[in-house]
Amino acid sequence: MPTSVFETPTKRKVVSGVLADQMSSGDGELIEGCELISDRDVHKTCYVIKQSGNARKKAKRSHPFIRLDQSIPETDDYVEDRWSLYTKTITNIQTKLESLLNDADESTLHRVWKYVTSTQDYHHDAYTLLPVGLVLAGANISSHMRLFTNMSKYIEQREAQKIVTVVVTLRDASTLREALRKIISQLVGQRKADDEDEITARMTTVPEGDQNDRRLSYDLDLLVDWFVKQGRVEKIVVIIQDADGSDGDLLPEVIRMLCVYRDRLPFVLLLGIATTLPIFSTKIPKRTMRMIDFESFDVLRTDDSLTRLLDEILLSSSTQLLLGPGLFRSLLKRYNNHTKNLETFTSAIQYAYMTHFFANPLSIILAPPKSVVNSEDHIIALRTIPSFQSYVTDWTSKEECDTEHIRGLLTDSTAVLAFVGSCQKEFHKFVSRQSEALKLLDVLQDASSTYSSTTVKRTRAELYADAINGTLRGSPIVRELVMFMTKMSAATVDNLARLIDQGFDKNSVIRKMRDSWNIGSMNGKASHLKLISNISKAMQEFLDANLNSYTDIVFHELFVFDSVSLCENAFAPRYRATIEKALMQPAYYLCQPSEAARFEKPFLSVAHALYRESGTLINIYDYWTAFHQFFADKCDTETLDNDSLPATNEDEGVDYSSRLTPSPSSFSESQTLALFYRAISELKYLGFLKEMSSKRGGNKNTVAVLQKLVWDGL
């Protein structure tokens, strides 16, 4: 059912091979063969489609990493090391990510729970409205399932037995009957009746032992009976995940039904809204709106979470590997422009880590095993790293050259490893200094925003890429903040000091700097001016010292991963450009056996080339003539060649490319026509063309033409 893949909004890719298994361990799922993508799977972010039938032989290895023999002849032990290093790093990160995502939801869940428990008793009076919680869950639908399942669990755990919850999606319920049947069957705990047939539906929903009860499965009286029997249940929470994705009148109808029964069943309705309130309210008629009493909840998982992610994962003290500025920028851009989805962001980070450990044999250097010392290949590889080479060049070009040190690095393997270790320490220092500097910029911006409200605050996530790139040093924003400090009033200084106290640890450099200010003792204008000039000078120096570029670190290639194109291609492939390129320059993708064949195109490409040259409407006869002419021309030029060469087309072992581009000389006109038909139908299948008949140009008779459907350059 390939169409369902496209119908759903979530991102899905087919990641091939074993790596995909790792990817999918997060929120993806493995799908065997052509198994249907059922409704349950609709919101997964990632699908791995494995060929069913002749499954590949499982490798004997316990892990999916492979030997990277091309660059460094590795032994299996090293591969093992990389794998264990990767798993160690990734589990560390994953637990942090999990807690980050959960914490983001936590406050909302708490508020929703409070709302549910605070709703009025249902048999208050006839005018009690149906309590409805509007949960604004954001536009990333793929996270909704998780959120609402958590919500349901959260509420049930805290109010054991008193509140029952039921999560439904209206997407697959086209009628009121189906929606109610879903709610009832989930609560009463019977199997869901799949088909429309009432008899079977009834048979499966009626409580056992009560054969005389022939009520229909969507009769809410069933629920009333169930509720009376339960005794302890005080509230029934119905969570509708996709409130704004439902068809037409369905949601108002469901609300009406729940409202009608509100004197017997203590319903609380929670609606998951992916759009905004103004858009959602256009879908609810006023009549329905008067039946309900509502409160809205925002699921806050936006820039705050990004900042936290930056602090805890990218710039924490345990950071082994830093995301490069280019990569981070592209991830952030994708987040803002396309997804607004924190889950996608985090999985991209995981992917980056995975790629680093999978594809870089030197990644074991991050925690070098002892045997590396003996591995000459690794040492040689280390010496080929550009940053190391330029380091050596710099040293040797200096006048006072410590030749011993350089010679040691170039000859002694232990010296190289020791040097790598010291560089790693330097890297850790770099990370912590960057983190401090970014925090300081944050604090300074907060302080200055009270001073002038016109500037828009730039978050740490936005500044990160520039910061580690070194471009932030002396940039306008830093200059502006330093300028602000030179003009601070006494109150602003107090405010700044307070913000620093809040934001930094006692042991940090900034905190010590702030402690040396002794604000209280300063009285009078002169002393104040002196103080702020001291502060601004100190801050300027601090920022200048700490906002240096990661490229200053030797061996930074080992500690910073910055492969933009790899990640972009993995997460957002350019399918359209790829198809067009394949049609325009098939030689790119076909391994041509000989030089001469390079200039030959598959007939589909020929048809496509003609297609590109024509206008919006293509007369079929013209098209055919041009197509035929193309091959006829070729025949003329090639007859000479073919006389001398025996035709190779009838050979058994012709490869695929020669089947795509059969030598045209062997074709009669009717065969060319067949090829033409095939090319046209393939173009039609690809969605390029549409058949139609036209009466244009003053013709009385209709002319068979093809209409171009695909626009150029989109």
Binding site: T3, F6, A139, R177, D219, V260, F294, G687, K690
Partner: protein
Amino acid sequence: MTYLTDNRLQELTLEFPARYNQFDLLNSLLSKDKTTNPTAIALVGQPSSGKSCVLRRFLQEVQFSHTWLSCDECVTLRVLLQRILAALRAIGTQDPNKLDYSILCHNSTLFVAQLNDTLRNLALEEAHFVVLDRIDELGEPYESFYQLIIKIGNMLRYDGITFILVSSGSEPRSSATTTFPHIYFPPYSKAESLAILRKESPESIRSMLGSTERKLSDVQLTSLWSSYSQVIIDTYFPLYGPDMQQLKAIVRRVFPTYAKPVLDGIVGILASNGNYHGFVKLYKINQPLLTSEEFVRNSFVSYVQGTGTADSTGHHEMPMYAKYLLCAAYLASYSKPRNDIRLFSRIRESRRRFRNTAKQKFKDKINSRNLAPSPFEYERLLAIFQCIVPDRIDSVTDIQTQVATLSTLKLITRVGIGSDSSGGSSIDVLGSRTKWRVNVSWDIILQISRDIKLQIENYLMD
């Protein structure tokens, strides 16, 4: 023979203002004698004009045996038929509340047969009434069932049962000419509405203010309530008309806030009617309350902003390109393809003057915003999208993902499913033949385009 005396009817009219005629009609139409009753009567009138409560009160008064069924609880006709039969079969059993749902009725023919069976078993001595309340709110089209009930007298072999149809919608056209008794409930006038509102008992008024309220005496409360009802009727009657349900709901919502100055002791209320000063002062304090839309609740937004509970915009932004796509979809729906070059292209041809034919001129006179959005092709959406985004972007899968998201959220909808006759897969969502249509109004598009700083008016002809 009638069951209630005229005096009793007058007393009931005190309870239900302006409903004397209806009580009188019910009284004269219905009787315990099963031979004289019609098989069906209808109570019609606007919503909340007292049909159900008058009928309920009457049946309670005369102690007729009856069954009350709310049709709005029934999702389909089958549920209703089953409930009618179950309720009838329960008559005369030991436990009338324990209903027997062993019969499932699929259509009206079966229903008549089953009803005959049931009536034969029951052998009614006295007349029994089946009230089908809110028949117009049955989950399914109810016209044919309405017809059946009207004519059911001819199909029943046992008498003794009378259906009372209570409907606030218009009657099905086919039954408009059939003769069976109707009782019409005219809408309440302003004065009558006021009288109904004022009939609240001191206890219930007190409960609206919170059960712990003990400051005001009953007389004071009644006096406050009566002036308050007048204010509410003057304010909201033009808005809601005689819809008593709405008026009563709004009275309940506003009252705690309205009465707060009195409870806080800012305004003193005396029991005597002469104390206009207090009421005027109270009214002046509460004037902003009555002019705001806070209690009307026509939309989620105004209410949320009114109470200031949450900031409705801001956090839940769509991704930026999703906003652009939505604007592009709006433009694609509301601008004509023949204007595309003029609107979206920078080439010279776009400056050419277009001559409008008379027919097109006539069409152009209608503001396209008042028309339904016209369908557009996916390619055109992409092209317009490329024109309005500030920087050129490649068509990566993320764009398609967002189109799919917009479609899931029903912000753009697919049109013409299955219209593909030439053999292609009709459910191919991304097929170039599939047409789309925007499903968002101009106000929202304007708001979104402001967010992304897009001058969307520049791309529209009107």
